[in-house]
Symmetry: C2
Subunit: 330 residues, 2 copies
């Protein structure tokens, strides 16, 4: 690899002048600039990012933490982040937390070591108090997941509204016996809290009572969905509709329903969440809440880069639209 010294030697200039040309500094004559440019061309010179990094420059690398890349929601999110970053000359370092607090912290350390300029967290496993100290080493942006104070820039969706729209849709379809799945616990704190609120609000407005037996917590996968349906089948008093926390859980429910010759939506109406590709693959096609992954990724990168260029930018929260997509499962 050619270095700046090689360019300096070949062009007959000093390293400083070469550096000035590279970084578009003023005070370099057109004549010498040409000389340097020509030498760079000739040697196929590219600045060594490692050396720049050591000098405290930006790394033009953004880290992204996802819980699991095989979850389509996150792979689509990463996709849009990677594309947006590449367009702006940034690279993307990816890590899966596997929902593991320790792994999350291990990755945040990259910030400390200036391996990445900033990190986009798409899920947050540790309490914010644990994560906060890392913000002094670089920018942290929350995308999708969030905390309840404005401590970091956030790109988020109105999850409360998402759940509200889904439940309201079921009520309008005439359902009164509505089950509810969440990826979190059904409590006032922690994951899924906002969706729970939307659920409660819609139920209240419709004057229908929440049946605690029809609340399923900690549901994530297709397999989980299948089990949920089996549990419902064993009930004397069954719900006529179910709102799920993800398209995958909904998929499990629909697949298992078919095994038991249950008709959807006649016997059970199903609403998903995310609008992943499987929503259109399922038969019947899935009514779901669309989360605009593309917009989220794009926006996250945009805000992250603004933040890197101007670290004392005021912390803001950006909310993106969320919408109900009605298909055949309701």
């Amino acid at each position: 690899m050619a270095t700046i010294s090689d360019v300096a030697k070949l062009s007959g200039q000093s390293k400083t002048t070469v550096s000035r040309v590279i970084n578009n500094h003023p005070y370099v004559s057109e004549e010498k600039r040409e000389l340097v440019l020509k030498a760079m061309e000739e040697l196929g010179y590219t600045p060594n990012p490692t050396a720049r990094r050591l000098r405290g420059q930006l790394t033009t690398t953004i880290g992204v933490i996802v819980p699991r890349i095989v979850n389509p929601f996150f792979s689509y999110l990463v996709n849009s982040i990677e594309n947006a970053a590449y367009q702006r000359g940034y690279q993307v370092l990816i890590a899966q937390s596997n929902e593991d607090k320790e792994k999350e912290l291990a990755f945040l350390n990259l910030l400390k070591n200036k391996q990445v300029d900033g990190i986009i967290m798409t899920s947050i496993e540790n309490d914010w108090e644990i994560i906060e100290p890392y913000t002094k080493y670089g920018s942290i942006l929350l995308c999708n997941d969030y905390v309840n104070q404005e401590v970091a820039p956030m790109i988020r969706l109105d999850q409360t509204k998402g759940a509200y729209l889904g439940i309201k849709h079921l009520v309008e379809k005439g359902h009164q016996k509505i089950a509810y799945c969440t990826g979190g616990l059904f409590d006032a704190h922690g994951r899924g809290r906002d969706r729970n609120l939307g659920f409660q609000k819609a139920m209240q407005e419709a004057n229908v009572k929440i049946n605690p037996r029809w609340i399923f917590v900690d549901q994530h996968t297709i397999e989980d969905g299948k089990i949920v349906l089996k549990q419902i089948l064993e009930m004397d008093d069954r719900p006529t509709a179910i709102f799920t926390g993800s398209d995958e859980v909904a998929a499990g429910i629909i697949i298992e329903a078919k095994e038991h010759s249950l008709s959807i939506p006649q016997d059970l109406a199903v609403v998903g969440f995310d609008d992943q590709p499987i929503a259109e693959i399922l038969d019947p096609k899935l009514t779901t809440i669309r989360q605009p992954m593309d917009q989220m990724g794009e926006k996250s990168v945009k805000v992250m880069i603004e933040l890197l260029e101007n670290p004392k930018m005021p912390i803001k929260t950006y909310e993106l639209p969320i919408e109900l997509i009605v298909r055949q499962s309701t």
Copy 2:
């Protein structure tokens, strides 16, 4: 961030001694080692990878190039690579080529700049002659995709056998009119070549003629699959079975078939490729060729790290098992 100098100062030793302790060098007295260790602990010291990198050390970062991360085949592959790498203390830098030659090269440049120790290519867009020069800057390993000489370590599957198994299965089910989809072109070179061979071999063995009208090239997505089915419907002489290059194309075919009230497998038997999660979600469930993504990722990382530790290791090709999974679509 604490530096090696801070540790040296606090422990009252020289930077060299500290460095020796960090790197587990011999010739450092137990007494001083303790001292250094204590200071490191106290300062929460971690070596700065950037500085190490600049010194020409390994970066403990592996790059992975995938064509598209949203393709489940690749997201599962990346998943296993990331997990295997993390276990061994390596980070994973991800890039999508989007099947773009230029973007692929841009990413290979990371090798030149010692941003990554090695790159795992899961698809190869440029000709090998273009890529080859980069091997002198770091290790390149081919996983999934491959070239036809032993120019780099390869982790691959016997694609010929995969296609052969699928076609043979259809023949055994009594089919004679078999259509064939490929992601590449149906020629002797380039992508999909090996699968084409397996297809031809199986057809020949069964003494059934290949109908060129039933060959669909450059098929990748669910949307492509839908179009394929529409094209088949317009034919006077329709195939009774179809072998596809991916579960996604198969999914498109099955979904579209349903729209036209075609029964699967009665009216059309369908074989996929990959054994992605949708294979089990589709109704009917998809008969497909299983590619062991987990094993591929794991093995790739293992070989890559061996290679980094011993760069003059002989170049070898590792072939992993591929198998037919029979479900309901045939």
